[in-house]
């Protein structure tokens, strides 16, 4: 009653003032009160409750609500209590209390409006003391015993802070750092209970023992684990959506520079391609590509707030865990950002009262995992001979052959006579015939060979050092970390240095107010310049001249400059400094409301300064006397979140309500200055661009704004039936002015089948069926694409530069977000006492209003207009199975298997319908976009090309001539047999470019007490890729350069798979390609670690020290003959790392 009186008084105070706004506010306030009022309606002396394994605390809350009494108890008492199952219908309070408290050795007294709960022993003791005096107390004390012991885990490692209590008493202690405890207990039947989070609690009957040691088993079931969902947290058992959790600790041994490296094949539903540069990283895509033009990367949420910065700025060392929201309903609370899924990253917090320092140091070597080289010197000479035979065939047999390797029947004299004026030296004559130039001949005579490939590929040294200080005081929680990474890549000159630091601070200012700061700062240095490609360089070229300076043209051919010029001479300064900070305050309001206000800001400062001196091609040949440019970018973004949440359980009904109001703004200013032709010399490089004579300036500023409203309700009935409803409205300034806002609803339902009374399968611990539906949006379109942009088009009219403009883009006021509507159905199963768990989801998502550059007829003059026209769908299955295969003292083995399958399909483009007669039947269907390779009814990655049946051989010359081809060219299927290769008649569907099936299998083993090992296998299967290198697109200059060492046809080497060197691929309308299977099986991560035993560590007061060795991309099995099936046209690194993790 008291609470209500106070409220009424406050209300009366406020109505004194007259302002309209106040009245409005109080009305809202009243309305809220009105709704809550229902629960506090009547007080009674009876209790009505149907509880199934509810905690004592919850039951006490129910009592308070129903009777109006206050229940007073000590936390310690309650934490040791067991869950309660009772059915009471109008039961008298006294009787109810008896029923729930007696079995727990608890008792109570009622004084006024307070119910005091205490342990039976305590009470008896208190009474006894009152009645019998001191002597009896002494008697009681004499019966006490001292019991000692050590608590470890199953591997023998001591467990700190384990609660050791005497059963049915309030007597308890905690274990120390070495797991030792000592307590006094009295009584005859002493039973000790050992409990700690993460382990199965253990009871030991002491009997006559004075030393009780115990080994606790890890609790495998993670159903009570709390998972981060959008704008809040939920227990895993209560989830209605498809959410996967990754534990940061599992990846401690992986030398990851960026978080996205954790996702390469490890999570069902996430497709990630490894990045090959020094910075690592990789692409991310969840549940297939769901857009053609807009971005398809998932949204990143960092510590509860939307993070638009770079994923590379988050130090993997700081990550506690990652939750991936895959289905529509889980992600719908992020509205127009969520169509591609959401990845929620949570960083570490302080955990222990004692400040802890954690340290990680890693060093590694990266090298290329598979070589893909040009010809070496020997091969180069043979290549030239074969090339000349094909390019400029001679009627004279053996014209291009080496004079010491002439074919049968051709003598040296004959051979020399082939030319009118042969060189006196036979080898020189031959060198001229195969078109070696003077510089190459000189090197050849001197026996000087340059291995360009070896010079370009290097072993990159990688280093990573991280240190963190964390702790949790009474009212303050802090985490401070700093880390430095210096990675060299596998190509000469690839190098990236990053310094990242983080501060997480949270303080409990008052009982109702929590204030905090999460901030990170990253500074990246990308100033190193990598060497370019070396495929065309002749092995008889030279790298440096006599003075030691680099030769601009290694084999003195101006078409082939030295790719190391920029790496050696260019002055490049690239710095990114990025700060991301969130300030938040969380208020605990009455009636179970919580209000959280958070203000995020992100500052992104980039500098990209370049100077090409005269020794480089850009600065010395393309321009004169140097060329320099400076780009400065400054981006500032702020976002405000107001989140109101309410969480209440009424008996069997649980409600969890969240409301969000959000606003954001991003502003970027970018300035570019460039200049050329520097005098007197270019030694000031980019510091002195004013010394050039032809400056040019470009400014590129932009800003965008957005806002959002969101409601979500989670309802559960008896924790068996779970329902989620959400609605979000997003506005974004990039949308056309006719549709500035979009609405994104969702709903999800889950049924915990295993909790039903009729469910009797005892081998099942937990079984939950889930179903969800939702609409998410994709707003990733260029900021001004709804407007008509006139772009600058400068012109030099003979005397001066004139500013021109051109109207190359059309406005579209109807432009709006892409909406993805998705269904998901799945189940979560935990069995065999938590040793085996499986999650399987099947989904179907359709993207409507697909953003397309609708190609316009050329006569309009516009190439395209961006419009929402198409429809695209993804269907698939994701399965994850985790099992604890072995668990005993000597060895544990856990295994995780993930499987994904995704089928993508373009349902509709922009609706141009055509009639087509195929096999006599006339069909009416949508015309494909041949230029982009988009076929309605097929996947985006469908391959449409000529089917290559083989290679025309010498004897097929006549047949080949029909098509205008020669022996050694592609022999493709001519479907309509018309003697020409026309794309619309003869191209067929050959396969897919994206994997059809992906598997990931991870095994973690601990053995011999201190050792642990882990291995992760990955397989991407079923796809093909184009090998354009076999088309020899540069063959018209092969007589001046080197080429890739790949197989080719000659009249002697009659390959039926690979064509001749100067293959005529232009004769195939629309181009032609050889396709190779891109499937691969890879040992992607393998590591072995050794944990130093605790007794050794205790002498130096170190908590934990672990050494490890790990490898990435250790072994790849594939039939792809290029660099790597995953990276395609760039080399893939193989990385070995040695490191240690420690904490003090």
């Amino acid at each position: 009653m008291k609470k209500y009186e106070l409220l009424a008084r406050a209300f009366r105070k406020r109505t004194v003032s007259n302002q309209l706004s106040r009245v409005l506010k109080t009305t809202t306030f009243l309305l809220l009160i009105g709704c809550l009022h229902l629960s506090a309606a009547s007080w009674s002396q009876t209790v009505t409750l149907r509880a199934n394994r509810q905690s004592l605390k919850q039951v006490f809350e129910t009592i308070e609500k129903q009777t109006g009494y206050w229940v007073v108890y000590s936390d310690q008492l309650i934490n040791r209590s067991k869950p309660i199952t009772i059915r009471a219908n109008g039961m008298a309070l006294n009787r109810f209390l008896d029923q729930i408290l007696e079995p727990q050795a608890l008792t109570y007294t009622i004084e006024g409006k307070n119910i005091l709960v205490m342990s039976s022993n305590e009470r008896t003791l208190a009474l006894k003391n009152m009645l019998t005096g001191v002597a009896d107390i002494k008697n009681v004390r004499l019966q006490q015993r001292v019991i000692r012991g050590k608590v470890t885990d199953e591997g023998g490692n001591p467990l700190q802070s384990v609660t050791v209590t005497q059963k049915n008493t309030k007597n308890g202690v905690l274990t120390d750092r070495e797991g030792n405890y000592e307590m006094s207990a009295h009584g005859d039947d002493i039973v000790l209970v050992f409990t700690i989070i993460g382990y199965v609690s253990n009871e030991q009957v002491v009997g006559g023992r004075s030393t009780v040691d115990v080994a606790l088993a890890e609790s495998v079931s993670d159903l009570d684990e709390v998972v981060v969902v959008g704008y809040g947290t939920q227990r895993k058992r209560d989830l209605t959506g498809a959410i996967t959790r990754i534990d940061g600790a599992k990846f401690e041994t992986q030398s990851a520079t960026s978080v996205s490296e954790y996702f390469s094949g490890t999570v069902a539903g996430i497709s990630s391609t490894q990045g090959t540069g020094a910075g690592g990283g990789g692409s991310l895509e969840i549940r297939g590509r769901n857009s053609l033009k807009a971005g398809s990367s998932p949204l990143i949420v960092l510590d509860g707030v939307i993070y638009n910065g770079s994923l590379q700025d988050i130090n993997p060392f700081d990550i506690a865990n990652i939750d991936v929201l895959q289905d529509a309903s889980a992600a719908a609370v992020y509205g127009a950002r969520a169509a591609s899924g959401v990845i929620i990253v949570t960083t570490k917090r302080g955990k222990s009262e004692v400040p802890t320092i954690t340290l990680s140091a890693m060093t590694g070597l990266a090298s290329v995992s598979h070589d893909y080289k040009p010809f070496d010197a020997q091969g180069f000479l043979q290549f030239r001979e074969d090339l000349m035979n094909q390019m400029a065939p001679s009627d004279n047999l053996g014209f291009y052959a080496r004079p010491d390797q002439l074919p049968d029947g051709v003598s040296l004299a004959d051979w020399r006579a082939y030319s009118n004026n042969p060189n006196a030296d036979d080898m020189l004559e031959w060198a001229n015939r195969i078109r070696l130039n003077d510089a190459e001949i000189e090197s050849y005579q001197q026996g000087r060979v340059t291995d360009w490939y070896d010079m370009r590929m290097q072993q990159g040294l990688r280093q990573n050092y991280d240190v963190a200080l964390a702790g949790k005081g009474a009212r303050v929680n802090y985490y401070l970390s700093t880390g430095y990474t210096d990675n060299e890549g596998i190509v000469y000159g690839q190098r990236l240095k990053t310094w990242r630091t983080r501060l997480n601070l949270e303080g409990q200012v008052a009982n109702f107010l929590k204030v905090g700061l999460n901030s990170q700062f990253a500074s990246q240095d990308g100033s190193s310049v990598a060497a370019g490609g070396i495929t065309a360089l002749s092995p008889y070229g030279r790298f440096k001249d006599e003075s030691g300076a680099l030769l601009q043209y290694p084999h003195e051919d101006p078409l082939f400059p030295n790719p190391f010029l920029d790496a050696y001479y260019k002055d490049q300064y690239v710095r990114n400094n990025r700060l991301f900070a969130t300030l938040y305050a969380e208020f605990k309001l009455p009636f179970g409301f919580k209000y959280r206000f958070s203000f995020q800001n992100r500052l992104d400062i980039t500098k990209d300064y370049n100077f090409w001196p005269t020794t480089t091609i850009q600065g010395g040949r393309d321009r004169q006397n140097g060329y320099g440019s400076r780009v400065d970018g400054h981006g500032y973004e702020w976002m405000i979140d107001n989140i109101v949440s309410w969480n209440k359980t009424f008996g069997q009904h649980g409600f969890d309500f969240t409301f969000l109001a959000n606003a954001e703004k991003l502003q970027i200013q970018r300035s570019r200055q460039e200049n050329e032709n520097f005098g007197p010399n270019g030694s000031l490089t980019w510091h002195g661009l004013q010394y050039g004579i032809n400056p040019s300036i470009l400014n590129d500023d932009m800003l965008h704004t957005g806002d959002a409203l969101m409601f979500r309700l989670n309802y559960n009935f008896d924790e068996r039936y779970l329902l989620t409803l959400s609605w979000r409205r997003d506005g974004f300034s990039a949308f056309g002015q006719n549709h500035p806002r979009g609405v994104f609803p969702s709903t999800a339902f889950a049924w915990r089948l295993s909790e039903e009374r009729f469910f009797h399968a005892s081998w099942v611990d937990d079984l939950k069926l889930r179903f969800s539906w939702g609409i998410n949006g994709n707003r990733d379109i260029p900021t001004y694409s709804a407007l008509s942009n006139l772009s600058p088009n400068p012109y030099f009219d003979g005397t001066s530069v004139v500013v021109g403009l051109t109207n190359s883009s059309m406005a579209n006021p109807n432009l709006k977000w892409e909406g993805t509507e998705a269904y998901n159905i799945g189940f979560d199963l935990t069995t065999l006492d938590g040793r085996l768990s499986a999650t399987v989801d099947a989904y179907r998502g359709t993207t409507l209003d697909l953003l397309l550059d609708r190609k316009l007829p050329r006569v309009m003059g516009y190439e395209f207009v961006t419009a929402n026209l198409g429809k695209l769908s993804n269907r698939g299955i994701n399965a994850t199975i985790n099992g604890q295969l072995l668990k005993n003292e000597r060895i544990t083995w856990s295994s995780d298997l993930v499987f994904s399958l995704n089928r993508n399909r373009i349902d509709r483009l922009w609706g141009d319908m055509v009639e087509e007669t195929v096999d006599g039947k006339t069909t009416y269907h949508e015309a494909p976009d041949y230029a982009n390779g988009w076929f309605p009814g097929e996947a985006i990655d469908r391959v449409w090309d000529y089917r290559i049946l083989g290679i025309w051989q010498e004897e097929d010359a006549e047949d080949a001539a029909v098509y205008g081809l020669r022996p050694g060219e592609y022999r493709a299927a001519d479907v309509n047999d018309d003697g020409a290769y026309g794309q619309f008649d003869d191209k067929q569907f050959l396969g897919w470019k994206e994997p059809r099936y992906t598997f990931g299998w991870r095994n973690d083993i601990t053995f011999l007490k201190q050792f642990d090992a882990s291995i992760f296998l990955r397989a991407d299967l079923g796809h093909i890729g184009a090998r354009g290198d076999f088309n020899h697109p540069n063959s018209n200059t092969y007589d001046r350069s080197n080429a890739l060492d790949i197989p080719y046809w000659t009249s002697e080497n009659r390959s039926n798979s690979y064509p001749r060197l100067n293959v005529n691929y232009r004769l195939f309308e629309g181009g032609i390609n050889i396709y190779e299977p891109r499937s691969f099986l890879r040992i992607q991560d393998a590591s072995v670690g050794y944990r130093v035993p605790a007794d050794l560590l205790n002498r130096v007061s170190v908590d934990r020290l672990r050494f490890f060795v790990s490898a990435r991309n250790l072994l790849t099995v594939t039939s792809w003959t290029g660099w790597d099936p995953e990276s395609g046209s760039s080399p893939m690194p193989r990385i070995f790392t040695l490191g240690l993790n420690a904490s003090f």
Binding site: L7, K25, F29, M391, A510, F512, F587, P590, F597, F659, A661, A663, D700, D701, L703, H704, T705, G706, D707, L709, G731, S733, A734, F735, Q737, P740, R741, A786, L787, N789, L790, N793, Y795, D797, G798, T799, V802, V803, L805, T806, M810, A811, R854, L856, P857, R858, V859, M860, G861, A867, D912, G964, Q983, N1036, N1062, N1064, R1066, L1067, E1069, G1070
Partner: protein
């Protein structure tokens, strides 16, 4: 204390709700022009014409442009590249979608682009009140010249083509070709106007009256000659 905070909460929430008007979502272009803020004076119109003048160079500069490409289809020359990527077998290698890098098919789009630019000028020529009528006419004359130039090229390379005479504000998908005679007739009329108003003095890079005086009779002669056949 508790109630103060709850009031603050509701205050902030209601403030947030009311501030969500659509004005907050208006886009603000910062570093580029749109027709509304460009075509406000003579200089604005002239800047679009600069683009048209630049496009005149397409036939003569860069690799394998019109001047060279038209040559390989005549007895003047043959495609030169050593390998068979050069087009010599016209029957097989020249198709509606491939021309071996030569500037034949490209002329179809590169003809309509400057036409698009000058159509914007012509359609919006009377959007402002001109101080000088002669300024307006000079701009219009040059726009007509450019349009005539490109249609001349298009009809001689492709025959009957669609005639686009105004600026497009919406996507349009159905077009019809016009006979080249009708295009030539139209061209003649516009050049007649242009010849009167193009500037007499030549400035490098600007079409001037002498140029108009060449093109206008050329267009007349084409019509007459071809009709007689």
């Amino acid at each position: 204390m508790k109630f103060n905070t709850s009031y603050i909460a509701i205050l902030l929430a209601s403030v947030m709700l009311s501030s969500c008007t659509t004005d907050w979502l208006k886009p603000e272009p910062l570093s580029f022009y749109a027709p509304e803020n460009l075509l406000v004076n003579k200089n604005g119109y002239e800047s679009l014409l600069v683009t048209a003048r630049k496009n005149l160079r397409n036939s003569f500069y860069s690799e394998l442009r019109t001047v060279v490409s038209e040559g390989i289809f005549t007895e003047l020359g043959v495609a030169g590249p050593l390998n068979d990527n050069g087009i010599r077998n016209m029957n097989l290698q020249l198709t509606p979608s491939s021309d071996g890098n030569y500037y034949v098919l490209d002329n179809f789009q590169w003809g309509y682009r400057p036409i698009r630019v000058v159509n914007a000028v012509i359609s919006r020529i009377d959007n402002i009140t001109w101080e000088n009528e002669s300024d307006r006419n000079a701009i219009l004359a040059e726009a007509y010249f450019h349009r005539a130039y490109w249609y001349y090229l298009l009809i001689h390379q492709f025959g009957d083509v669609p005639y686009i005479g105004q600026e497009f504000l919406d996507a349009k998908l159905d077009f019809y070709t016009h006979s080249r005679w009708s295009i030539l007739d139209r061209m003649q009329q516009e050049l007649e106007f242009a010849v009167q108003w193009l500037p007499v003095t030549t400035t490098p890079g600007h079409p001037a009256r002498p140029l108009g005086n060449i093109c206008w009779p050329k267009s007349i002669s084409r019509t007459d000659n071809m009709k007689r056949r």
